[in-house]
């Protein structure tokens, strides 16, 4: 297949993937929340409530796009797009399987971080543009949180780049081939703190995507719905889809960097088309296991206080991630034969 057509097909796939994920992760979230809280969750619309996301989507789309008084019309409407578009762009470099990737970019890791950083600007302008006090407070909180957690996340990512010598996500996955103890999270011979690095990265993912227990951007018991307070209908819907797309990207990145990406736990990889499906199966299994953990955490832990949140990043995560960086560098240089 010629390259442009392949990329266009991939763009369609990625949009469908992002949309379906947003729709059905909401369903998973509600079902998970239900069962964790000894309820049933959605069950009326379709079997097991499986058509609930479609009903929700229709409801959101039929609502009037109402512009609140005092809002900045351009910023208010542009902000949801600034969350959604970069999220979709990031999907272009994620290797779902060895050959199942839109573009194998040399600096794919950097590309994901570059686009993810626009996300904050979208939330900030959305909160500011709606001209609502609660939204502005939420936006301010969101920015300090995102800046604080971006640092340990990037430092951990730099450590991983140092270990793998590349920013190409597919190469990073290839370097973890073989048994499951070749995945980076188990490579204690590269860095003694590897599991801790994974934990830091995962916690930062939770914080960067504004998930509980760090969901300061929409702390509903304090700030109504935070930055989303004034958003009607699909304005809110697009924000929500962007948030779920970001969760998927964050978890995908954790899987690629630490859990072996599309590598299976045993050294077996069939050739040809079957190999693509095999890789896809393992990637999606790990991805959804992590996403389930994210949902699980949300319904298990209460929201933290804002100061606790900032202290955790500045006083715990950043020093540990910096120490990990130095330790890994020393271990790579002093014991290169390991």
């Amino acid at each position: 297949m010629p390259e442009p057509f392949r990329v266009i097909l991939f763009i369609i796939f990625v949009m469908a993937f992002a949309g379906l994920n947003a729709a059905y992760l909401v369903w998973c979230e509600r079902k998970g929340a239900g069962h964790i809280q000894r309820r049933i969750g959605p069950k009326e619309v379709g079997p097991f409530g499986l058509l609930q996301p479609i009903a929700d989507g229709i409801k959101l789309m039929t609502k009037q796009l109402f512009l609140p008084k005092g809002a900045d019309p351009i910023l208010f409407m542009a902000a949801p797009l600034m969350v959604m578009v970069p999220a979709i762009m990031s999907f272009m470099v994620i290797p779902f399987s060895e050959t199942f990737v839109a573009r194998e970019v040399n600096i794919g890791l950097l590309m994901i971080f570059a686009f993810a950083s626009v996300n904050v600007l979208g939330l900030l302008l959305g909160g500011w543009g709606s001209g609502n006090k609660y939204a502005v407070i939420a936006a301010a909180r969101c920015v300090s949180q995102n800046i604080a957690y971006e640092i340990p996340m990037l430092v951990t990512a730099i450590t991983m780049v140092m270990v793998t010598n590349t920013m190409n996500l597919n190469e990073i996955v290839r370097s973890q081939a073989g048994w499951f103890f070749h995945w980076h999270i188990f490579r204690l011979d590269i860095s003694l703190l590897m599991p801790v690095a994974f934990l830091i990265f995962f916690v930062c993912t939770l914080a960067e995507t504004n998930r509980a227990p760090f969901d300061m951007a929409e702390a509903e018991s304090e700030l109504i719905a935070g930055a989303y307070t004034e958003y009607p209908g699909m304005g809110f819907g697009v924000f929500f889809m962007g948030e779920y797309a970001n969760i998927v990207i964050g978890c995908a990145l954790s899987v690629i960097l630490f859990l072996g990406g599309w590598q299976s736990p045993v050294p077996f990889h069939p050739a040809g088309f079957l190999g693509v499906i095999w890789g896809l199966f393992w990637f999606l299994t790990k991805l959804y296991a992590l996403i389930f953990t994210v949902i699980w955490i949300r319904w298990t832990y209460p929201r933290t206080q804002f100061y606790v949140l900032l202290n955790l990043s500045w006083k715990v995560l950043i020093p540990i991630s910096l120490f990990n960086l130095i330790l890994t560098a020393l271990q790579i240089k002093i014991f290169p034969w390991l």
Binding site: V105, L110, M111, S117, L121, L124, A140
Partner: protein, 179 residues
């Protein structure tokens, strides 16, 4: 005239689009009444500049432009605006009548100077420096040829951090003393 649906025609089209984005962003940044909108214009302008870097075959610099300028600088500016200026309707002061013609003349001078420089420079053919924007090359030149500039920037950042700390500490002791 290059036909539109060829590799060269399409890439020129992309180039024109990128430049238009940059100019549009810059115009929004300088001409909006509200500061937040101006910062959004600045963000658009930075995205355009990142596009130009990408067009010049250095995706690493382009993505760094996105990460640092859009993701960090613009966010910090909006944050500062939010902290400093709760009233977005504040009017920008009117400049004197000479401001317009003067800036126009300066702009023309700058444009002429840059064009003359571009015309006079002996450009290296692009094929000879196709790897200049790659991650390895940027890293190597930062730690060899431009290490002095690199170190100076880190001193500037250190000073900024110390300044911020001093300001923040003063604020803390003052409120502590009052309460």
């Amino acid at each position: 005239m290059v036909p539109l649906f060829s590799a060269e025609g399409l890439s020129s089209l992309v180039f024109i689009f990128i430049v238009m984005t940059t100019v549009l962003g810059a115009v929004i940044a300088t001409h909006s009444e509200r500061l937040t909108r101006a910062v959004t214009g600045l963000a658009i302008c930075f995205i355009g500049v990142a596009g130009i870097y990408y067009y010049l075959n250095s995706p690493f610099v382009a993505l760094m432009e996105m990460l640092i300028y859009v993701g960090a600088v613009c966010v910090t500016i909006v944050f500062a605006v939010m902290l400093a200026d709760p009233n977005p309707e504040s009017e920008a002061g009117k400049g004197s009548i000479f401001a317009g013609p003067l800036s126009f003349a300066l702009g023309i001078l700058l444009f002429w100077g840059l064009s003359a420089l571009a015309g006079k420079t002996a450009w290296v053919p692009p094929s000879a420096r196709v790897n200049d924007g790659s991650l390895e090359e940027v890293g190597r030149s930062l730690l060899t040829n431009y290490s002095m500039a690199f170190e100076l920037i880190s001193i500037v950042l250190l000073l900024a951090i110390i300044g911020a700390l001093v300001l923040a500490r003063q604020g803390r002791t003052r409120t502590g003393g009052e309460s």
